[in-house]
């Protein structure tokens, strides 16, 4: 069995599972946020059970419209606080704690071997730390609140093996964009993606999260990386504490994709589809109205360090707006301690509180018709960040920072060469 199959077998109490088999799995943790939670609460009330199955295994994060962007958003927050109080759910992370996925990782809900479901599509990020994690909807989350279990089809797996070292200013974001461009937006529908290779195992936990976060953009059910020393160190775990599954030598994969990271250039995903990926230099020069650094994909400390390295002693081009939004309170504080926030503010950026913010066009930096945004987030669909007539490009924190300085899409290596 491969890594995903082993976790699904463990969670469903089976010796062995095979692809396409449907299993009833026990859930270790379920997460909902302020936009998916209220529907889950409503559905839960209709089931007719008075209490949730285990209040310690339910996590609520108010992050998408935080602080409340409207009276309606405030009502959603209130519904979630009331539900948490009623059901004695202590794990409610209120406005300001951060984006749900980053909070889940930082607060210790994610560990190797766990089965986690979340009512947010980027839940697949936790595979970076060796967990099986996948996105579900609100009604399904309500059913998990009531029963603690979920039916899952064992996915067929694709192994993506990555070798070689990145060139300067090429990052895990460029790698995942490159892979999505190659596989297509539906290239991994229903599948599990296991990342392997020297590039992956020399990558930091932050980078691995960026990678696994975006597997859903090619339709994958989950992305996963075999836990190693880096995983354990990041989680402050020792070998005994972690359920340390590894794929068997003879584990089966539907296909194996090999990627050479050493020749890769900075990548950009162009409007209006995540798989419309090009080298940054191919679209260099496109003028940008807004640049956004943040989100569950690229709002971690390493991302902010990289952006600050480029923005140090630079100014955001007049006519371009730069928004920087740390993914969590912890990241925010760390960036403050390291002086990164000062660098951003001096460069002319607007620094906002931890939230999903403009990534989903919720609030803080919504785009007008015909505006162009370059963003470190994960989706560039029509209307995603505001107007249906706006254009969104996705890239790494380095490329976004360099583009903010020049006011047009810029390969970060070009800026450095000047």
């Amino acid at each position: 069995m491969n890594l995903t199959e082993k976790i699904l077998a463990r969670a469903s109490g089976k010796e062995k599972v095979t692809p396409r088999e449907i299993v009833e799995a026990k859930v270790d943790v379920v997460m909902v946020n302020d936009l998916t939670g209220p529907l889950a609460v409503e559905a839960f009330r209709k089931i007719g059970v008075p209490h949730v199955w285990d209040s310690r295994r339910i996590v609520i994060v108010l992050d998408h419209l935080a602080p409340a962007s409207s009276e309606k958003a405030a009502e959603l927050h209130k519904i979630m606080r009331k539900f948490a109080e009623e059901q004695k759910i202590e794990n409610l992370y209120d406005v300001g704690e951060g984006v749900c996925h980053q909070v889940m990782v930082e607060k210790g809900y994610v560990a190797p071997g766990k089965l986690i479901v979340g009512a947010d599509s980027h839940t697949c990020m936790y595979g970076a730390l060796g967990a099986f994690a996948t996105g579900i909807g609100s009604t399904e989350a309500a059913a998990v609140f009531a029963t603690g279990s979920i039916w899952l089809k064992v996915p067929e797996a694709i192994k993506i093996s990555v070798e070689g070292s990145f060139k300067k200013f090429v990052t895990p974001k460029d790698l995942i964009l490159f892979i999505i461009g190659k596989m297509g937006a539906d290239g991994a529908i229903y599948k599990s993606i296991e990342f392997y290779g020297s590039t992956i195992h020399s990558m930091s936990a932050d980078g691995r999260m960026t990678l696994c976060n975006m597997v859903v953009e090619m339709g994958a059910k989950n992305g996963i990386i075999e836990p190693d020393e880096i995983t354990l160190k990041y989680l402050n775990l020792n070998l005994k504490q972690a359920e340390f599954f590894k794929s068997d030598e003879n584990a089966s994969y539907e296909k194996i994709v090999e990627v050479d990271a050493s020749g890769m250039e900075p990548q950009v995903s162009c409007p209006h589809s995540v798989d419309n990926v090009k080298n940054v230099r191919e679209v260099a020069g496109v003028e940008v109205d807004q640049a956004f650094i943040g989100s569950c994909t690229n709002g971690r400390i390493e991302d902010l360090r990289l952006a600050a390295q480029i923005l140090k002693n630079q100014k955001v081009k007049e006519g371009t707006r730069l928004l920087v939004i740390p993914a969590s309170r912890e990241v925010y504080l760390q960036a403050l301690r390291e002086g990164l926030l000062e660098t951003f503010i001096k460069a002319g950026a607007v620094v906002c509180n931890p939230t999903c913010g403009p990534c989903l066009g919720g609030h803080l930096g919504i785009l007008a018709p015909n505006e162009v945004c370059i963003s470190t987030s994960n989706r560039n669909f029509i209307g995603r960040m505001g107007s249906t007539k706006a254009y969104v490009y996705l890239a790494s924190p380095a490329t976004v920072a360099a583009s903010a300085v020049k006011g047009k899409i810029t390969d970060p290596r070009e800026l450095e060469a000047e």
Partner: protein
């Protein structure tokens, strides 16, 4: 379980941001959501769907966000069933869970035209195109998914199961 209606067609990779933009996600009433269904792709969609239609699409329908508000908006706008070459998995589960039949059927995007009269037999997995007098074989739904649909969704299904116990 048999559903019928006129086909309303869309292409590949229709994402949940166009099915129901995030700015409407603060609405809880599904009828309010329905007013904005597919707004990003077809501003006249709700008028078309009112009479009860079958949405036909290409590959990867419902990709992107996990928002259940997307299938809810379609259902309350008048969509009786979604037939696609393939679905994004979260959308598929969400649709079934709220009692909106989602059927995978190879060849739908080339063999069905906008406005064709369709009848879908969910148990048998057959999509009949009455306007063209032809039938397509869809992927059969597993019995437990059919049970969820027959009961009107996951919650009602679960409620009945718990009551039986």
């Amino acid at each position: 379980m048999i559903v019928s209606g006129k086909a309303v067609k869309f292409g590949n990779n229709v994402d949940t941001d166009v099915i129901l933009p995030a700015k409407y996600m603060t609405f809880i009433d599904p009828n309010e959501l329905a007013r904005h269904a597919m707004e990003g792709l077809d501003p006249n969609f709700t008028a078309k769907a009112k009479s009860g239609v079958i949405l036909v699409a290409g590959k990867n329908f419902g990709c992107g966000s996990s928002r259940e508000q997307a299938p809810l908006a379609l259902k309350y706008a008048g969509v009786k069933c979604v037939i696609a070459e393939s679905f994004a998995r979260i959308f598929y589960r969400n649709a079934i869970n709220i009692g909106l039949p989602a059927v995978e059927c190879a060849g739908v995007s080339s063999k069905i035209e906008d406005g064709d009269e369709l009848t879908v037999d969910l148990e048998k997995g057959i999509v009949k195109n009455q306007s063209k007098n032809m039938a397509l074989h869809a992927a059969e739904l597993p019995p437990f998914i059919l049970e969820i649909l027959l009961n009107g969704g996951l919650i009602e299904n679960l409620r009945r199961r718990i009551e039986k116990k």
